[in-house]
Amino acid sequence: MADTVQTWGSTVTDKADKPGRLRLLLRRRSTVAFLMCLPLILIIVCLVVYPAFYSIYLSMLNKAQTRFVGFANFTFLMSRETFWMVVYQSTIFAIAAVFFKALIGLITAHLVNNLPVKGQRKWRGMLLVPWVIPLALSTLGWWWMFDPTNSAFNYTLRSLGFEGVPWLSDPYWARFSVILVNVWYGAPFFLIMYLAALKSVPEQLYEAAAIDGANAWQKFIHITLPMMRNIIAITVLFSLIVTFANFDIVQIMTAGGPRNMTHMFATYAFLLGIRSGDLPLGAATSLFMFPILAIAAIFILRGVRKRGREIG
């Protein structure tokens, strides 16, 4: 019998005893996480990182893409007054649109949050519609309403006895119109983010404030806003990036006109790079957004981290 008695490990070889390196690697949670993220990483590398570096490379070539010219394209752009007008317009567009999107999103989120739970879902769904419709399609709808000659808005205004508005033919009205469409499209994103943030504010804080005699405004200023600061900062940053890079709305509604006074970085880059055939200059134009957004991102994310540490 004795020879049939087995001790631990007596029938297992040393090699089998140690799990394979691959198996060990796979057992690590970080490895699994990495593998699961790999498809996304590959997509980002191929569709974001590679084009980004390629556009940096492109922006340093001459027009025929045969010679390295360093920062010549950037210095050329900085010497053009039309380019500085584009910088000014992009800034105005992004700041105005993000401000109104945030404001409307905040107000609407409060309104929806105070609705009875039963009807809230319907309102949430309806208010998200502008964000869900493909942007090019909804912008075409707006363009028809602003149409220079047969504007639906002007038809209504005139039938009420008012003068028509030169929505797209006057440069300042045209700027207003493209910002309006951007606000209409982007406000639901703020609404949904702020609504989620509002729902995470502990009810006890409001109850305590009510006991202390705080009114609605005081509750908003001293409880709601501080609790939402991080989400506001992150949504503003995200929206700022997307709005600065906006292309569809301006291209469809005004194509940068009249008199180049609605051009954004993206539409101006398209004009120079694709329509005029100067890809390096177009790439340089689009890259000008990068430092502006990087600085904004540094400040906003620094604030978010700081508040995170304070809470922690």
């Binding site: 220079p148 000659t149 033919s169």
Partner: protein, 448 residues
């Protein structure tokens, strides 16, 4: 039973090699299997079918499988596709290129001198605008197409012109060039155009020419500038916009802007079409597309339309021309077949079918082909588009010329001429300030 000896195999191989070396020109098309084309998607319903038919006919005869992808120019998708193919170094064998795209992709396009020189021998002189855009340093990098090539003459409501401006356009420009009265034709000047526009505006039927930054706007303003002899930048990179000619042309443009709808500054290329079709407008400058859509959507307007030459200025009568081209990529796998197909599709017989399918919209680049019957036959009213191909003293032009085409492309695409008019007429800036602004902008285009 024949035996296959080593000696007989060697003998056959040697004979075959000798025949291959000694054989003269072998048509590549016979040797190749397929040809791919990325072509502009025609807006006229059924016009693509004419090209499909020609391609099928040629493919069958030459045993080549021809595959055509029609790519819309909406949102510049055709230009984006061409840019992507040029960067990637792969794609279709033949690609259609609008306006300045031949120059943009010149380094990646096959020389086509043999084809164009042959066509010139057959059909006579070619459009100078086509030559300016596609013949680069003596080499044709694209071949002007019939499909999509256009000019932008006047398309006017002859009933309104007669009633409110006292001009009988059908009498001035009857559908037979031989019957044109020189005195009447010469009297059709930019001054006469302004006077008639003022009268029509007063009557409540203004003319409508766009003043935005799209090609229709750039083209008609370019024709006006050329008629007064305005040179923005010359062949030697000299900026010449600060001239009396510019001041005269700008005054004409301002007077016209005053009597056109205020929305013209925001019109895209469809704005003028819609204006005419709506029945509110008395005239535009456009290919017969507006008339063709009116025929479908508002036939009563179409019945009153007459296409005729643009007005004349002190330096001549210039109509804006926008040709399209076919280019063969240098990375094409079937260059010979591509060249054979392009030669076939450029023959007058093929051109006639394409012009007929497009109801006269497509315009060949050879003046000798302007006698095709389509322009006489199309109606209502009969002869309405006879004046579409440049006739009489009308010459074709393009904004940006005579500057180097690299510079011209920037001038055209940045619509410097229409922005000038807009600054002067809409923003009420001083003419001298506008000209100084234009000088600075033109200086920027010279970077090219």
């Amino acid at each position: 039973m024949s035996s296959l000896s080593r000696r007989s195999v060697l003998k056959t191989a040697a004979l075959g090699s000798a025949a291959a070396i000694a054989s003269p020109y072998v048509r590549g098309a016979y040797a190749a299997g397929s040809l791919t084309l990325g072509l502009w998607d025609h807006w006229v319903p059924g016009a693509n079918k004419a090209l499909d038919k020609l391609a099928a006919e040629w493919g069958e005869k030459n045993k080549v499988e021809v595959k055509i992808d029609y790519i819309t120019s909406q949102g510049e998708k055709d230009k984006l596709t061409a840019a992507a193919e040029a960067q990637a170094g792969t794609g279709h064998d033949i690609m259609s290129h609008r306006d300045w795209n031949i120059r943009i992709h010149q380094d990646k396009l096959e020389p086509l001198n043999d084809i164009v020189d042959g066509l010139v021998k057959q059909y006579g002189p070619i459009s100078p605008v086509a030559e300016y855009l596609a013949k680069i340093k003596g080499t044709w990098r694209g071949i002007p197409t019939t499909v999509g090539s256009q000019v932008k003459p006047c398309c006017s409501r002859f009933d309104l012109y007669k009633e409110h401006a006292g001009l009988d356009l059908r009498d001035m420009f009857p559908a037979d060039e031989k019957k044109w009265d020189k005195a009447k034709v010469d009297g059709w000047t930019w001054d006469a155009y302004v006077t008639s526009a003022q009268k029509l505006h007063k009557a409540g039927f203004p003319i409508g020419n766009p003043l935005g930054q799209t090609s229709d706007a750039v083209d008609w303003v370019g024709g006006l500038f050329n008629a007064y002899g305005v040179v923005m930048v010359d062949e030697k990179d000299n900026i010449k916009i600060n001239s009396d000619a510019t001041r005269q042309a700008m005054e004409v443009a301002r007077k016209l802007a005053e009597v056109m709808p205020p929305d013209v500054f925001a019109w895209d290329d469809a704005g003028n079409n819609r204006w005419l079709i709506s029945g509110k407008g008395s005239g535009i400058m456009n290919p017969p597309s507006a008339w063709a859509v009116a025929k479908r959507d508002n036939p009563k307007v179409a019945e009153q339309c007459w296409t005729h030459p643009v007005p004349r200025g002190p330096k001549g009568r210039f109509v804006g021309q926008l040709p399209q081209f076919y280019g063969v990529w240098s990375f094409s796998k079937n260059k010979q077949a591509a060249k054979d197909f392009l030669t076939f599709v450029s023959q007058k017989n093929s051109v006639a079918q394409l012009v007929a399918a497009s109801v006269g919209y497509d315009l060949p680049s050879f003046k000798s082909m302007y006698d095709l019957s389509t322009w006489n036959d199309v109606e209502p009213p009969k002869g309405t588009v006879y004046g579409y191909p440049p006739r009489g003293d009308e010459q074709t032009s393009i904004t940006g010329a005579p500057a180097r085409s690299e510079v011209g492309a920037q001038i055209y695409n940045q619509a410097i001429n229409t922005v000038m008019v807009s600054k002067f007429a809409q923003a009420k800036e001083k003419l001298d300030d506008v000209i100084k602004w234009a000088e600075r902008e033109l200086e920027g285009t010279l970077r090219a």
